[in-house]
Amino acid sequence: MIEIKDLAKTFAYDKKEAKKKKKGKIVTDPREGEGVFHAVKDVSFNCKPGEVLGLLGPNGAGKTTTLRMLSTALQPTAGQILINGHDVTKEPRYAQKQIGFLSGKTGLYHRLSVRENVAYFGRMHGLSRQQIDERIEKIFTMLDMHSFAGKRADDLSTGMMQRASIARAVIHEPKVLVFDEPTTGLDVISAKTVLDFIQSYKGSEMAVIFSTHHLHEVEKLCDRVCLIDLGETKFFGPTKEFAASTASGSLYDAFLASVNKKEVA
């Protein structure tokens, strides 16, 4: 169970940037303050085991910053993140063991083979060689990866790379899976692999947070959605309820109606 309460993150501009901003005097984002930028102002949501939660929002809304705080890469300025009741900021090691993270940007070590990449992250999570071998066998079978397990990562196709990245993200059998725009830049077949994988975790004991711009993927996979815009939660609830908030009943219309119009334009 993940609980995010009143989360906030403020970045201080360095002197040069602050001077530049002050000189320009054009405030392009209401989150800009005196020498600071409130990337996330007030975000709250939760995600239960077996659930796939869709995280929506336009570019720059604060989704990635929120997920980075959840995964311990960034420290929140305010608010709380709990994983199974454990505070992420106070127990980062616990959180890191519970979370599997995958984004469209996270890469693999190019000069290591797929198997070496996955095993390396298994070792980083403290797994024994035997545990790693067993889990690799299971995951590689599930994702049909045995044919390219010995290939170096720089020789992989995009689809193979994404499957290897999934394997890397789940080798330690996390209880929380965070997908940050994992299908961005993928072809239809590669994207389907990722989506099928997420689908396979529905109803399991794993909580899945799925950030995406593709609303059809959300409709297909997500039980609930959280819409973030300008660093704040604008909607959090069942996907159907969000879609029904407009006359057309379409998720697309509901999204457009909820977000900052300037941003969408």
Partner: protein
Amino acid sequence: MWLVYKKELLEILRDKKTLIFSILLPTLIFPVLFFAIGKFTANKTEEAENKEIKVAFISSESLPGFADLFTREKGFIKVELESDDFQSAILDKKVDYIFEVPEGATLPSNSQKQEVLKVYSKESTKLDNILGKRVDDVVEAFNNTQRMELGRNFDLTTENVKAFNKPILLEENNFATQREKIGEFAGPMLAYLLIALAVSGAMYPALELGVGEKERGTLETLLLTPMSKGQIVMAKFGVIFTASFFTVIVTLLSYLFWVWIFSLFAMDSSVAADPDSLTGKQSGGGLDFLSNISSLDLLLVAVLLVPLTSIFASVMLSASIYAKNMKEAQAYMSPIFMIGFMPVIVAFVPGMELNVKTAMIPVTNVALAMKDLIKGTVDYGLITILLVSTAALAGGLLYWTTVFFKKEKVLFRS
């Protein structure tokens, strides 16, 4: 931490570029280049020493014996000028030296006056200077005959003439050892080479492990593992240090190996080794010189490089982590290289020597100490001061790199 260290090392070793820069260049290409350049220089010098010099004389009949001395000397050939255009004749290489004797000139031994001759030539290169010296030697021989003749005219003995010529003659008794003399030249060379390699050896792994990881998206993945940021940065530092230090040590060992090989070759070719000469021709002397350097001194050269390499590894890793992309990181590396190398140049400014003050100047101190170690004139007390001060700086920089690596603004700079 060892897990990250081993993985990073494995990746670096699988990279062909690293292998070329860290192993192939220092073990094969550099030594072969150095010795090839040495051989080429020696050949060119020999060529200049044996070259036939074309000389021409204007009105030399008034100085009997002057022109004859040149024609009798091996390696000189007298030519006749076709025109009065001396410049064209020299630039067209029809003649190398033209001696113009003024009208009314007589032998100084007869006139008891100095005669001024004009000499035309084109001396612009070091090889031309060698030719010039050969000409000067012949002129000096002529002057000697004139001195002796003048002496006879004034009823002077040979000893009197010698006293006139050089009232005081210094007979040199230099107590500097062969190691000191060669070390004065070889010490700075070795310091330049090893420090340059320490810097360049750290550069490529630093780029790979810092901004390279950022660009590939693997750094963020690494940060999400239960490994602490401090451990991650220490592992990365360890790999950069290892790569840089390895490059330097391999270079040092390969240099010793190649000196040995070339010494064998030189001996086989029956090349006489002149212990006082510093030119490449006498490469057989290289081993003699090296054999005078104790194992402790060679070990100390390597030990000096430990804190020095740590300094460069820390600075370059910080710059690489700070950079947004590879292009920005590379822009930082060139000034770091230049700034890092400047103190080495300062170290070999005449008058600079290792003392309590200079032992605390980073990089300069190591360069000076290397020179003294090679020359065999090192003060081991100063080496201790140097090691303590450099290790303190290296430790400080490493701590700063660790703090730097923990900053969100650095890791997620965009």
